[in-house]
Each structure stands twice: as structure tokens, then as C-alpha cells.
């Protein structure tokens, strides 16, 4: 039995709750030093980690060949600590940005913002996350009349760009729903009609032989039963359910499907099920399919940890090699001037200046022998999407006032403008506003 002295006084409890609401901590201005202290602890402990192991190694080494181990250990520590420090710098600027300590006066849109202007705001680029008030500041510079006069229905717009170029890159946001890929699939007939001979995917080039075999025989590998391929949409549905719900039931359903089809190429390499319908269609249309990406997956699943965004950032040299390979594969594909290639891949490869190194788009821009055009496919990301490569808790960003959608998308949505395409250039802004930066993309499609 609870002692009366220990029982909570309901009145007191209520008043303390009110007091808590009025707690100055709650309404105190968020200061960068206050917030940053908590962040800094994480990085400091990260940098200090491994010291004990290093000590063990140092004690155990003798002046002979075992020194090599200690030198190797020091290299490992230096490498990861520099990565942690780089991450720390990113975090510092993101915190500052969230606290409104940058971008207060808009005389021109900073390049990072311009990039997000026509591109989704993904969580790992938090500097680009904007609430409704902040978005409005940018929206007032958009020249709606110019858009109305110069835009076309998106399929017509894309057809024109295919006609004028050798290479058209379509940027997507990797989500489990694969909305952009479904659109790409629907467009294939028209693409063929407009002169596209080749299509490309962000798939490692080591899988080219399997794709070629499929185009020739209808099977990825000898042991496959093509009847199983028809289950691709069911597999996608199960994956999506699991990533959305993260509960035991959905995991069991997803896992048992994988167990049942463990020997099947399509399902044993689970990223390919979303390409199946497109490959089937491309086969019917006689289009050549290219796996344009560089090989990167010699890292184990363990290293990958289901966190694509994080992984891509960590492996910068590897990522730049990927873009280099993409560029070479595309150049090879259109070496014959009678060929035209339409490619769908992640927006970061499609937009100029999308990385700290020269990405695919930068390389293609510099190459005057190839006529290339990059278009960002923009769509609603605020509702009901599950981004590939982000951890579940980041779905917080999909709530209320914080949008993943680009500024342009939200603006056009308010005007009820859908399914259009137009060029991105300085005319997009009202004349009194002088835009100094160039857009990462040449064109924009809103679906």
C-alpha cells in the first residue's frame, strides 16, 4: 500500500506541470554553444576510441617486423579520426544553419540553396531543410509567368530534349516506392519512338553480363525459373512493408520470401527486382541496356549496414571512381553517333557540383564531344515515401512544417501545376532579382 505521504498531490502535480511548461529552458533561445556542447561529446568520444587497442599493439611490438602492425594501426586510427573530424565540421555547419545563424539575408540564393531549390531536401543535407516561412522568402523570387509560358507537358518536354541530345540523364531520389523508375518504365515506348537506342541504370558494370543474358534469353542465369520473375512486384511490396513498418510480421514475410527464392538471381540480388519490368519492356522494344555504374560492392553487407547515404559519404574516393566509370561507360555507349542513351540514376550524380569531386555530370559538361542534358525529376517526397539508405528515425523530417520537398515543387503545387517540364535558367527568377549561380540541372520535370 502506498503511504499517503508518498502519494502525489494532484494539484501540486498539475501546477508543477504548468510550471514545467513555463520552464525557461523550454522557451530559452537555442544557442549554438549550448547545443554544440552535446554534439561535441559524441565526436570527442569517437576520436578517443581505439586508443586502448593502440596501446596494446604498442606494448606488444618488438623492433622487428611486427612494427608494421603498429604503423598500420596508426594509419587506421588517423584515417577514421579524420573522417570523424570531417563529419564534425559538417555537423557544426548544419547546427548553425538550423539555428538560423546563416542565410539570414537573401540577396542571392547560396549555391547550396540553389541546389535544393529544384531538388528534394534530403536529411543528410540538413542545411537545406526549410520550414514553410523560410520557403516563402525564396518563393517570392520565382517568375510564375515565365514558367507558365515556357513549360510543356513533361513527356513532350523530355521528347524534345532527347531529340536535341546524345545523352539525357534523369535524376531520381532513391526510394523504395521507385516512383521515378515507374515513370521511366511508362515512358520507354515514347523514348524508343523519339530515337532512344540505349538505356542506362545505376547498376554496377559487373552485372552487365547477367543483363545481357537476360536480353538475349529472358533469363539472368541458367538456374533461374523466369516464372518467378513475375513475383518481382510482390517482392517489392514485401520490402516496402518491412521498411515502412519495421515490425516482426512484415520482417517474417519479407525474410521468408528471400529464403524461398534464395537461388534466383533477381531476388538473391535484391536491388534488381525494381528493374525487372523495365528490362522486360526494353527487351520487347529492342533497346540496349547498360549497367553504367562502377563496381563498388566489394564491401560486405556488414560495412554497408543498410545506410546508403552514410556509406556513400564515407567512401568518397570510391564514389569518385564510380562517377569516373559512369562517364566512361556512357561515352562508350554513344561512341557511335547514331545512338542515343536515356539514363535514370540518383540526382547527386546528375546535378553539376553534386559532390566534392568532379561527378558524372561535371565530366559530361566538360566533354564537348557529347551533347548531354540533365533533368531532375521532382515529386512529392513529404508523403508516404521510404527513402532508401536512410535510417528510420530520420522520418521525423517528414513531419509537419519540415519538408523534404524542393522549394520549386511546393511552389508549383500551390499553383496546382503538375506534370510539366521546363528549362532551369536565370529567367526562372523575377527580373529585379539577379541570380548569380548556375543551376545544377539543365531541366526540371515535376510529376
Amino acid at each position: 500500500m502506498v503511504s499517503p505521504r508518498k502519494m502525489k498531490n494532484p494539484e501540486k502535480s498539475l501546477s508543477s506541470s504548468i510550471e514545467q511548461q513555463k520552464n525557461p529552458e523550454e522557451i530559452k533561445e537555442l544557442s549554438i554553444s549550448g547545443v554544440w556542447n552535446k554534439f561535441e561529446k559524441i565526436f570527442t568520444s569517437g576520436i578517443q576510441s581505439g586508443k586502448e587497442i593502440l596501446n596494446i599493439l604498442e606494448e606488444s611490438v618488438t623492433p622487428d617486423e611486427e612494427n608494421v602492425l603498429f604503423i598500420e594501426a596508426r594509419k587506421i586510427v588517423d584515417f577514421y579520426n579524420s573522417e570523424i573530424n570531417r563529419t564534425k565540421d559538417d555537423a557544426r555547419s548544419e547546427v548553425a544553419s538550423i539555428l538560423g545563424q546563416t542565410h539570414e539575408v537573401i540577396e542571392h540564393i547560396p549555391s547550396s540553396r540553389l541546389r535544393s531549390f529544384a531538388l528534394y531536401n534530403i536529411p543528410r543535407e540538413i542545411e537545406k531543410l526549410m520550414d514553410e516561412d523560410e520557403r516563402k522568402k525564396y518563393e517570392k523570387y520565382i517568375n510564375l509567368e515565365h514558367i507558365k509560358e515556357n513549360s510543356k507537358e513533361w513527356k513532350t518536354y523530355l521528347a524534345d530534349k532527347i531529340k536535341e541530345n546524345d545523352v539525357v540523364l534523369l535524376g531520381e531520389c532513391h526510394t523504395f516506392e521507385g516512383i521515378e523508375k515507374k515513370l521511366f518504365f511508362e515512358y520507354l515506348d515514347k523514348a524508343k519512338e523519339k530515337g532512344v537506342t540505349d538505356i542506362g541504370f545505376e547498376v554496377e558494370e559487373r552485372f552487365q553480363e547477367y543483363f545481357d543474358r537476360f536480353m538475349e534469353t529472358g533469363k539472368f542465369s541458367e538456374t533461374d525459373d523466369p516464372k518467378d520473375y513475375k513475383k518481382a512486384s510482390e517482392y517489392q511490396r514485401l520490402r516496402l512493408e518491412w521498411h515502412r513498418r519495421h515490425d516482426e510480421k512484415s520482417l517474417k514475410e519479407y525474410a521468408s520470401f528471400e529464403v524461398d527464392h534464395a537461388d534466383n538471381f533477381l531476388f538473391s540480388r535484391h536491388r534488381f527486382d525494381e528493374f525487372y519490368a523495365m528490362l522486360q519492356k526494353a527487351r520487347e522494344l529492342g533497346l540496349k541496356v547498360h549497367c553504367i555504374d562502377g563496381n563498388y560492392s566489394d564491401l560486405s553487407e556488414d560495412d554497408f549496414q543498410g545506410n546508403n547515404a552514410q556509406w556513400e559519404e564515407l567512401e568518397q574516393p570510391r564514389l569518385s571512381e564510380r562517377d569516373e566509370r559512369m562517364y566512361k561507360n556512357i561515352k562508350e555507349a554513344v561512341a557511335d553517333k547514331n545512338r542515343k542513351i536515356l539514363i535514370i540514376l540518383g540526382s547527386n550524380h546528375v546535378g553539376r557540383g553534386g559532390a566534392k569531386y568532379k561527378n558524372l555530370s561535371d565530366k559530361l559538361t566538360e566533354d564537348s564531344t557529347i551533347k548531354s542534358f540533365r533533368i531532375n525529376i521532382d515529386r512529392n517526397l513529404d508523403e508516404d515515401v521510404t527513402m532508401q539508405g536512410t535510417k528510420k528515425d530520420l522520418n521525423l523530417f517528414l513531419k509537419k512544417d519540415i519538408h523534404l520537398n524542393s522549394i520549386l515543387y511546393n511552389f508549383l503545387e500551390k499553383q496546382d501545376i503538375k506534370e510539366i517540364g521546363f528549362d532551369l535558367n536565370s529567367s526562372l527568377f523575377v527580373p529585379k532579382y539577379k541570380q548569380k549561380e548556375i543551376f545544377a540541372y539543365d531541366g526540371y520535370i515535376k510529376i
Partner: protein, 59 residues
């Protein structure tokens, strides 16, 4: 608005914590492999020494 910002900051902190944990995990795993190698070398040496005839010992 401040509450929203705090939420975003908390999520951001969690996000960075995960990133640092990921790096620390990779760093630790690679260092542990070196410790293992060092242990193996030690054992190898001890085995070699055991295998050697002791000084002044007749073969």
C-alpha cells in the same frame, strides 16, 4: 517553432551519433584484426622457440 527546431536538432544529433558509431565500429574492427594478427605472430614465435633445441642441449 523552437520545439520543432529542437526536434530536428535531436534527430540530427542522433543521426551524427550513428555516423560516429559506424566509424568507431569500423575503426575498432580493423584494429582488432591487427591485434589478432599480432597475437598469431606471438604464438607463432613461441611455437618456433619451443621447436628449437635449447642451448647446450644435445640433439
Amino acid at each position: 517553432m523552437k520545439k520543432e527546431k529542437q526536434k530536428v536538432l535531436d534527430a540530427l544529433m542522433n543521426h551524427y551519433k550513428q555516423r560516429v558509431d559506424f566509424l568507431v565500429d569500423k575503426k575498432t574492427r580493423r584494429l582488432e584484426k591487427l591485434v589478432e594478427e599480432s597475437e598469431k605472430l606471438k604464438i607463432k614465435k613461441i611455437k618456433e622457440e619451443i621447436g628449437k633445441p635449447k642451448k647446450n642441449e644435445k640433439p
